[in-house]
Symmetry: C2
Subunit: 463 residues, 2 copies
């Protein structure tokens, strides 16, 4: 007999009521009197547990009554309407077989554990309500993002993880090597001889797939990446991880306005998808993590995102400068406090801030006619600040080369990137969405370590 | 006016016939007489080109007639039924605007280029028919795999890329470090001081997410990974890349038979998905890459995959041993020639070879009752040999620990993995599918470098 999945039962109880079924799963809690007992069983397919009732007549009643939290069991029985108020139905057990016992030092006993403690048992924490909810939502959001782009005909491109270039010239990178660190080969001049490394050159872990994916944008028009990226920044904060996933769409024959429309559509699509496909998990977050979560997400789905120039944003911030820790001045980057003030206090909805000073943005962003700003956009949302950063790319070869000269970038290192402007280039634009950041936003979870299965941070690569 | 996508036109021509539309894309070929000209325009959204006809009356006729291959243009005109036999409709241009010119040294002129040459211009090759087909299929297959598992309620887990453990103890690994290779910090004993590396320990790039994902399997029941994996093997062959993507499902309350059923369902689902969603690309491969491709794939969809034990397979191979380069003997691993003989000559369909000698398989595979073999399975398919490898995992703590002792594996390095057997373990099983390998199988492309956007191989990390 194949096990029926608890998700199927909760979604279509009528199909199973008064039927004999088998289920299998893990005991979350168990209690028994002399005559009968209850087991809350979670089979992994659904956020909620199914209640199993077992009675004294059962052959191994005494053994079952003593089973520990965490034990895996297989139950045969009849699904019946429940008399209790807490659940609409329960499984009246005819037989219960132990699949795997659970040792008495099982760390997940029935009590609240701190998130900090649960990080130390990252291999067991998905068995708790909180992390079961987080990681099911994470999986659904990943799929929603793929489905959003695939429905629009975008081509998913796997940009390389190991790279010989350093993308934006920004961000500290991890070296990738097969050289013997203890005694690396050296050239006659005594330098490390990277020609004898695996790839015959120095290589690093990627910080962004954007430059690579632009090449596919000029072939497939609408493309996206979704893969891991890396930062070797020594930042031990709740928002930094050394390894995280990023989504980077890139669209041809498109400008900054097209880019913003795509970002707005995507955010709304993803929110709708999780609200529809994980209602139990989202209700849990709203109750136990952030009481305003569902309201905030609903507001975003219904809002029309605002556009405001950086220059106007600075004017608005200067009027309230007493409220900020960091100074506000044209030419400086916005801090999270500024971003949140704009989106939460001034506009009370998501806003795109556009046209940033070129000095604080990357070399590939398209120069505006004022020659001072570039066609960049950051999407700011209430409760978090920046969630997406993007830009129209500089498609004019002469303008791009001039900017690279100003910044001292070597054109020969970017020959293939410049080729895209020589050979039938088009207006194009794109953006980057940090995957973990949107998971934090959708769940209310405030530490990035709690939305990554096995987080990699400064001094931590456990498991 | 927003551009209409060429894919929409080909899928629903009636909707656009005799309408004024705008399209934008890249010139694949162009030819003109004094009175009129034809442009084959590809807009990136569809494998086929749309034919654009322009006539002498047009303002900039002389300029348009000279546009080079590769130029990006925007065309306004009327979609009309075509008199030519080669295409059902064409766009009669009213205006053509040049979006981006193409320099005269554009490498993709109208002639056949070798795959070897195209690898040197990996940033431009997706603009050719062959690579446009390969990389659109790659994108569709990635999505099909996600959709297959998500429809079944599997949870997608992002297992870590940077790892402190070495997974199966198999495969050479890439070091990840932020230490200064030229003068790394050393301990008093003169050894490299990894406590001062970014993660406070020695770290590598992952070779498999399996051990990590087993932890989530024991929480969510049915899970899968889909991410990059790495091998620092010095193998310069058509089938080896240092960086490739892998899919690793893992299922609880499941045995080897369940594992094989899942693998069979997945393979058939993916084949059906690409046949339905990329008919033009698949017809192209069948015509230009492998004339038997569609027949072979159709046969697989219709076949019921066979099961044969390793022991029986060896008997079958011994009868034909004269045909093989490598010797056949119980206890040795099967070579590709053996695998292909079994699936192509003996069974003439996909087969699962099961129950391999424990000595040639990984420590975590479940020991069979004969104590000599393990519950492993390899899926062999005609034309390629092994495409999937999997196993039921050893869930019995004592048996697993004994096997680790035999192999000299340190139990303290695997404490969290062993915990899964202590705390409510269940029968479970899983497999690994090399993503590039299935792309090669579905397209007939024989070199792995031609199914990876920017391949990483020995001495090559270009772009």
């Amino acid at each position: 007999m194949k096990s029926t999945l608890v998700k199927s039962i909760f979604r279509n109880p009528a199909q199973y009521l008064n039927q004999e079924i088998e289920i299998s799963g893990w005991i979350r809690t168990s209690r028994a009197s002399k005559a009968f007992g209850f087991i809350e069983l979670n089979d992994g397919t659904f956020f909620k547990n199914l209640q199993v009732v077992f009675e004294e007549g059962m052959e191994n009643f005494a053994e079952i009554a003593k089973l520990a939290t965490g034990t895996s069991i297989i139950v045969k029985g009849i699904l019946a309407e429940s008399l209790g108020a807490k659940q609409p139905f329960e499984l009246k057990a005819q037989s219960i077989i132990v699949e795997g016992e659970c040792a008495s030092d099982y760390p997940l006993q029935k009590k609240r554990h701190s998130f900090e403690y649960l990080r130390t048992i990252a291999h067991l924490r998905p068995r708790t309500n909180s992390f079961s909810a987080v990681f099911r939502v994470r999986s659904l959001v990943a799929f929603a993002i793929h489905q959003f782009f695939q429905e629009k005909g975008f081509v998913y491109v796997h940009t390389p993880i190991i790279t010989g270039s350093d993308a934006e010239g920004a961000g500290e990178m991890f070296h990738v090597t097969t050289l013997d660190l203890d005694a690396p080969p050296r050239t006659e001049e005594g330098k490390i001889d990277y020609s004898r490394d695996f790839f015959g050159r120095e290589t690093n872990l990627t910080v962004s797939g954007q430059l690579n994916v632009e090449t596919y944008c000029m072939a497939f028009r609408n493309v996206y990446t979704f893969g891991p990226t890396f930062r070797a920044e020594n930042s031990n904060t709740a928002r930094h991880a050394a390894e995280f996933w990023m989504i980077e769409p890139e669209i041809a024959f498109a400008d900054l306005e097209d880019d913003m429309e795509l970002a707005e559509d995507m955010i709304k699509y993803v929110i709708n998808y999780v609200l529809e496909n994980a209602p139990e998990e989202m209700a849990f977050f709203n109750e136990f993590v952030d009481k305003n979560l569902l309201d905030r997400l609903q507001n975003i789905v219904q809002a029309s995102f605002e556009r405001v120039t950086y220059t106007r944003a600075i004017e608005l911030l200067e009027k309230a400068k007493d409220k900020f820790e960091y100074p506000v001045e044209w030419g400086t980057d916005l801090q999270t406090e500024h971003e949140r003030y704009l989106t939460e206090q001034v506009f009370k909805k998501p806003i795109f801030v556009i046209d940033y000073p070129k000095e604080i943005k990357a070399f590939y962003m398209r120069l505006n006619e004022d020659r001072k700003t570039v066609a960049a956009m950051d999407l700011l949302v209430p409760g978090i600040g920046e969630i997406i950063g993007g830009s129209q790319r500089e498609e004019r070869l002469d303008v791009l080369e001039k900017r690279m000269d100003e910044l001292g970038l070597k054109k020969e290192d970017y020959a293939w990137y410049l080729d895209l402007r020589k050979y039938g280039g088009t207006r194009h634009a794109g953006y980057g969405l940090g995957f973990e950041r949107i998971i934090m936003y959708l769940t209310g979870i405030s530490n990035i370590r709690d939305v990554i299965a096995f987080p990699r941070t400064v001094n931590n690569a456990d498991f």
